[in-house]
């Protein structure tokens, strides 16, 4: 009997992993071979998907990207024993793109069956929760403080400090809310993890509950991720029947409904309560007055998924990765026009240039790189000259950008930055919750102003107007949507002025 691993992750399925799995099953039967397929998450090397692995005496060997039409040839080449084939990649663990990573959060993703609790246990799962349940809540919080973990959703707020605030809030009922409304273009780490290792998120939430004294948790998953929603829901049911949930802490997965703004934590809370996803003014902070008015820890998927490792190995061990005020690992997502895109987890410290060229292999189109957007639609556009910026919270901020959720979108030289700036405003207008005027009206005016700049009647006047409008949006908006939309707009204008100064179209 040979075990073969084929991802069931929706990105892998999107390029044919389902057809490959069916072909392997059919071919094995035709040849009378005893093959057992394990459907795993994705290892995150999207450029190699569908990535098929066979278990051999020497370890798991990989082949990719495999198409259904390649399967018969793979059997002919004896791939079950690691036979030579043009798609052979050698031992999976030795693939340089994977070997170079330091996978703390994604250690199991792509390795195990996402819905096998036995797999999860065998690969080091539940050790952190077991330890946490023997600790005093305050000690769990201090362990997280010591780790230096900062919110990986984008804001970078110290997680331990947030938890301490919720722990210290006196209330009978408290909540853990997981923000799985991963709407930023260029980011997919949350989806990958929820589909590939959902028990890790559940364990992280259960630990969070023990730390702050919350008995109920919600995972708010965007509706654009139906597979992640189904997997997390199934994993919750499995965890509950295994007795991991239901006693001291229980949780539920809820589905968003297509609103980017619900990634903003107060909008998310409104949405969970069954209302329009409109931003709440702060204060009060959700840590004091959150879901249904109760103290609530709202954390991103990546943040909560880092917790079990921290409780297993200790806060100091986690803080041993990274540098400066960016401790632990960065779950980098290489996206867009990039040759070797995917999820790459490593200690903080990489520069953008290393990430894009050494790891990502440059553009997918083979054309010169012209711009990079880091941190989603609210992140700045960087020119080639800023690529030596380190990918950490402080360095990105100092360079006029932001790290956000760690998504890097690469554009080649066919990109028009005036069009990208216009899109940023258009997107803000489309997704504005409407609560505050600078965002609701400003974004619409922003689109009109950029159109006038491109039309070229009086560029100097209109550029001054755009800058003024951006200042107003930055200073006057209630939340990050209106407040940060000026980042992509002004960075495009600053670094790529020539795109705003072409002959009128």
């Amino acid at each position: 009997m040979t075990r073969v691993f084929v991802p069931i992750d929706s990105a892998a399925l999107s390029v044919g992993a389902g057809e490959v799995a069916a072909a392997i099953a059919g071919e094995a039967e035709r040849r009378g071979l005893d093959v057992i397929q394990v459907r795993t998450g994705s290892r995150g090397a999207m450029w190699l998907e569908p990535l098929v692995e066979a278990e051999t005496g020497a370890g798991r060997v990989a082949f990719g990207p495999v198409r259904a039409a390649d399967v018969a040839g793979l059997f002919d080449a004896g791939f079950l024993d690691g036979g030579a084939h043009r798609l052979a990649l050698g031992l999976t663990e030795e693939i340089p793109w994977l070997k170079r990573q330091q996978r703390l959060t994604f250690a199991r993703c792509g390795v195990t069956d996402p819905l096998s609790l036995d797999d999860y246990r065998t690969h080091g799962g539940l050790v952190g929760l077991k330890r946490a349940r023997t600790m005093a809540p305050g000690d769990i919080v201090e362990e997280v403080v010591a780790s230096g973990l900062r919110g990986r959703g984008g804001a970078g707020f110290p997680t331990g400090v947030k938890w301490r605030t919720v722990l210290e809030a006196a209330a009978e009922c408290k909540y853990i809310v997981c923000n799985a409304d991963e709407g930023d273009s260029g980011t997919f780490a949350d989806r990958l993890l929820m589909e590939g290792d959902p028990f890790l998120l559940i364990e992280g939430m259960a630990i969070a509950g023990a730390a702050v004294g919350a008995t109920t948790g919600y995972v708010y998953i965007r509706s654009e991720y139906p597979a992640a929603f189904a997997t997390v829901k199934a994993a919750i049911a499995i965890a509950r029947s295994a007795g991991l949930l239901g006693g001291a802490f229980d949780m539920e997965a809820r589905l968003g409904a297509g609103a980017y703004i619900c990634g903003e934590e107060t909008s998310l809370l409104e949405s969970l309560e069954g209302r329009r996803g409109q931003v709440r003014p702060r204060p009060p902070l959700p840590a004091h007055h959150g879901l249904f008015g109760a103290p609530t820890a709202v954390n991103n998927v990546m943040t909560l998924a880092a917790i079990p490792w921290i409780l297993t190995h200790g806060g100091a061990a986690y803080a041993g990765f990274g540098l400066g005020r960016s401790r632990g690992t960065l779950t980098l997502q290489l996206a867009g026009n990039i040759a070797r895109g995917g999820l790459f987890e490593t200690a903080f410290g990489l520069t953008l240039r290393e990430a894009i060229f050494e790891i990502g292999g440059g553009t997918a189109s083979g054309r010169p790189l012209r711009a990079v957007q880091v941190g989603g639609p609210l992140g700045a556009y960087f020119p080639e000259s800023l690529l030596d910026t380190r990918l950490d919270y402080e360095a990105m901020l100092a360079a006029g950008g932001m790290l956000g959720h760690g998504g890097v979108v690469v554009f080649d030289d066919t990109v028009d930055l005036a069009r990208q700036a216009r899109f940023a405003m258009e997107f803000c207008a489309l997704e504005s919750c409407g609560k505050c005027t600078p965002c609701r009206i400003g974004a619409v005016r922003g689109v009109e102003t950029i159109d006038r700049i491109v039309a070229g009647a009086d560029r100097a006047r209109d550029i001054a107007m755009l800058k003024d409008l951006c200042m107003l949006m930055t200073d006057g908006s209630l939340c990050a949507l209106g407040g940060l939309t000026p980042y992509p707009v002004l960075s495009a204008l600053t670094h790529f002025p020539e795109d705003f100064d072409r002959p009128a179209r």
Partner: protein
């Protein structure tokens, strides 16, 4: 919540049923007790009927003891909830930055120019509705799309044509 559409009148090829007041009432009753029940109920209604019928608003309002205006306000806030039935199948094309960087806008423009099918429209035979979406989390395999909930990566013109013509999933 999962929806049991039971004996409702099925609409061929779509997995949905025609508007049915009794079924809507059941869906609301089943979901009303949960905290923050409105979104799950609206999802369940849309899953059953393919859209949120106007006639559902008072039923939901009564079931949750809130005003019709509140129900309408929520239903109209979120992009997912439709006020009218769409095509039997829905193709969402991602138009966010990562997909833009790989030519998604060219695909959209080509569809418009060659077939006169615009984002938000349904084919004349009612088979396919075309929608825009802003990020499907498949940004390393752009351009991305989603057909009836199934993710598509490295979308190209040939694949798009096949989907629009009903030749491929």
């Amino acid at each position: 919540m999962s929806v049991d559409i039971g004996s409702g009148a099925r609409i061929p090829g779509s997995g949905r049923v025609a508007w049915d007041e009794a079924l809507a009432g059941e869906i609301v009753a089943r979901g009303a007790a949960r905290p923050g029940a409105l979104l799950p109920i609206l999802h369940a209604l849309q899953e059953a009927f393919g859209y949120i019928d106007r006639q559902a608003l008072p039923i939901v309002a009564e079931g949750l003891n809130i005003s019709k205006a509140e129900v309408f306000g929520v239903a109209s806030f979120y992009h997912d909830f439709k006020v009218a039935p769409g095509g039997a199948h829905v193709l969402k094309i991602c138009r966010a930055e990562a997909c833009q960087s790989m030519g998604a806008e060219d695909l959209v423009r080509r569809l418009e120019a060659r077939r006169g099918l615009r984002i938000g429209e349904t084919t004349a035979d009612g088979r396919l509705t075309l929608e825009a979406v802003y990020c499907l989390g498949n940004c390393a395999l752009s351009p991305a799309a989603m057909l009836d909930g199934a993710l598509i990566g490295r979308l190209d013109a040939a694949r798009l044509d096949a989907i629009v013509e009903g030749r491929a999933g």
